[in-house]
């Protein structure tokens, strides 16, 4: 007589230590094995799109920061780029370079948060603090240039709010010199640790075709083996001036596209960003950062869809302007929103502890999902 077992619905509720924000996962589990996951989002919905319709164009920039609050510099970058293409503004060379430097620093900071919290989710708490100690240095760099640590309102439409701080270059060079050995140390401590590999290899495998079909982008797509990076495939700003290679998941420790690949892609991407910053610092030209900022931002009637390579994936801005001072529609295509869609697919058949591992490796931010 077979043992009568029942499924249990476990609520990994909005307040849970490892859901990276207010996300409610309804897990149907049989014992420890997951049968189905139903994500419920919307707990952090702050109506960004409704606000944007009531604001003038420059006033929207502080709101874009609050969407993906871990990579707000890149949100502004995407928005400013979309507006400049809409209004056909030519931005001075120095502004482009500073934006690339700030964007790449923000990518390293955002990846450090992703790697640190991922280590903490799996159980190792020390790498979390090592990552945050290094991230603190980047936040200090941002603080001396624009005054804020997390939500910058630094990249404006047509330029920047402040020029670089006099000793920004020196501090960045010091940071790069100290950061490289730290990345190696993080690898020793976590990446190649047998238990960490045991917990992440062959877990939550994302095949390439489902990834493209779902529109997944960024590190999660590259971890599945596809060489797709918007900085190279849909070039914007001055990224074409630097040489860096795009790391692609190769299934070192398990199948390609598993949690370990998604984790290790971010580690290698940090090293690539370091290279970009070094080259950008050498070639940075002189110039006035506020010369191309329009007095009154009044774009012609029209619409534009621009996308940038946010640390979490492809961040797209679809802006429709009806010629007045306020936009008639700003739609944001958030990478975490699309990644969250594929999350139930990744979790089926794994255990409760793996849900946490997969959620950490996919690196979502709820501010961006709920907008």
């Amino acid at each position: 007589m077979a043992l009568k077992t029942e499924e249990m619905v476990l609520n990994m509720g909005p307040q849970h230590p490892s859901t990276h924000g207010v996300l409610r996962l309804e897990l149907q589990i049989d014992g420890e094995i997951i049968i189905d996951v139903i994500p419920h989002i919307g707990y952090l919905h702050r109506c960004f799109e409704k606000h944007a319709e009531a604001m003038t164009y420059p006033q929207i920039i502080p709101y874009t920061d609050r969407m993906d609050y871990l990579a707000s510099m890149y949100n502004e970058f995407g928005y400013a780029l979309a507006m400049e293409r809409l209004m056909k503004i030519e931005v001075p060379e120095r502004v482009e370079y500073i934006r690339v430097i700030m964007g790449e620093l923000q990518r390293i900071a955002s990846h450090l948060v992703a790697l640190g919290t991922y280590g903490a989710d799996i159980g190792a708490f020390t790498p979390f603090l090592f990552c945050f100690r290094d991230r603190e240095r980047i936040l200090h760099l941002f603080e001396i240039t624009c005054g804020a640590r997390l939500l910058y309102n630094y990249i404006w439409i047509g330029g920047l709010s402040h020029d670089l701080h006099p000793d920004f270059i020196r501090l960045t060079k010091e940071f790069i010199k100290d950061f490289r050995p730290n990345v190696k140390e993080l690898n020793d401590l976590l990446s190649y640790n047998r238990i960490f590999i045991e917990r992440t290899a062959n877990v939550g495998v994302l095949p390439i075709d489902t990834a493209i079909n779902y529109g997944v982008s960024g590190p999660n797509l590259r971890a599945s083996g596809m060489k797709w990076d918007l900085r190279r495939d849909d070039p914007y700003s001055v990224y074409h001036k630097f040489d860096y290679e795009i790391p692609v998941g190769s299934g070192e420790k398990g199948k390609t596209g598993d949690c370990w690949d998604r984790y290790f892609i971010r580690v290698r991407e940090m090293e690539e960003s370091l290279k970009i910053i070094e080259q950008a610092i050498e070639q940075i030209p002189e110039g006035d950062v506020k010369s191309a900022i329009p007095k009154r931002v009044k774009p012609p009637e029209g619409q534009i869809y621009t996308r940038v390579e946010n640390p979490r994936g492809e961040l797209g801005y679809f802006i429709i302007s009806d010629g007045s001072l306020n936009p008639s529609r700003v739609k944001v295509r958030a990478p975490s929103f699309v990644t969250m869609q594929i999350f139930p697919e990744l979790c089926k058949g794994f255990m409760v502890a793996d849900v946490v591992a997969i959620l950490g490796s996919v690196d979502i931010v709820l501010g961006e999902i709920d907008r």
């Binding site: 502080p62 100690r133 005054g147 047998r194």
Partner: protein
């Protein structure tokens, strides 16, 4: 069988490497500071609490318009000609009495959009970050330097001046009307026949 041994050995070896890393960090000096006793040294472009230097403020409302969350509330009263409002630091003559200038720091998002458009640079961000309150109402800062009675007094002056101007305008209008009527009277001696327009004006 081979990967069984390799698995075990690799497990042991990576654990020892990990332990070497953490042991090395036992002797690395701490990076944290003891906050209340050791205050962090903030850079000069720090963006924390706003400060408005009221003698430079000419009440132009630029900052209130630039604020994305409308947390600045300004009310100005025109000055009576006799008043002396003083001049701003860069020598511009002030023309408006600013009777209310509130910034609600509970709503402010510290984005510094208000600092850039200010013509006299009287609103800027200081590096004071320890200003939390127990109740949200205390975060509503009032920057006006006039006493409450002075504000009412300024409003009253303006109303009186307004009333006086109305009165003058009314008299001027009446005088103009009489002048027109008087002009009308000299014209009829010249043309006795248009009596109908005359009594129309009289009963106006």
């Amino acid at each position: 069988m081979k990967d069984y041994i390799v698995n075990f050995w690799q497990g042991l070896f990576t654990i020892l490497i990990g332990m070497k890393v953490t042991f090395k960090h036992l002797f690395v000096p701490a990076v944290t500071i003891q906050y209340p006793s050791v205050k962090p040294q903030l850079p000069e472009r720090e963006r924390n609490r706003l400060y408005v230097n009221m003698d430079d403020c000419i009440g132009c409302d630029q900052c209130a318009r630039a604020c994305p969350v409308n947390c600045i509330e300004i009310e100005t009263v025109k000055s009576v000609p006799g008043d002396d409002l003083g001049t701003t630091s860069n020598g511009k003559k002030k023309a408006l009495w600013v009777t209310t200038f509130n910034i609600d720091f509970a709503k402010c998002c510290y984005c510094q959009l208000c600092v850039f458009p200010c013509p006299t640079e009287c609103i800027y961000m200081t590096d004071v970050y320890e200003f939390s309150e127990f109740s949200r109402e205390n975060l509503l800062y009032d920057f006006v330097t006039l006493l409450p009675e002075e504000r009412i007094q300024k409003k009253k002056n303006f109303e009186e001046m307004q009333a006086k101007k109305e009165a003058e305008k009314a008299e001027a209008a009446k005088k103009a009307a009489e002048a027109k009527v008087a002009a009308q009277k000299e014209k009829p001696e010249v043309k006795p026949n248009d009596t109908s327009s005359e009594n129309k004006e009289e009963n106006k």
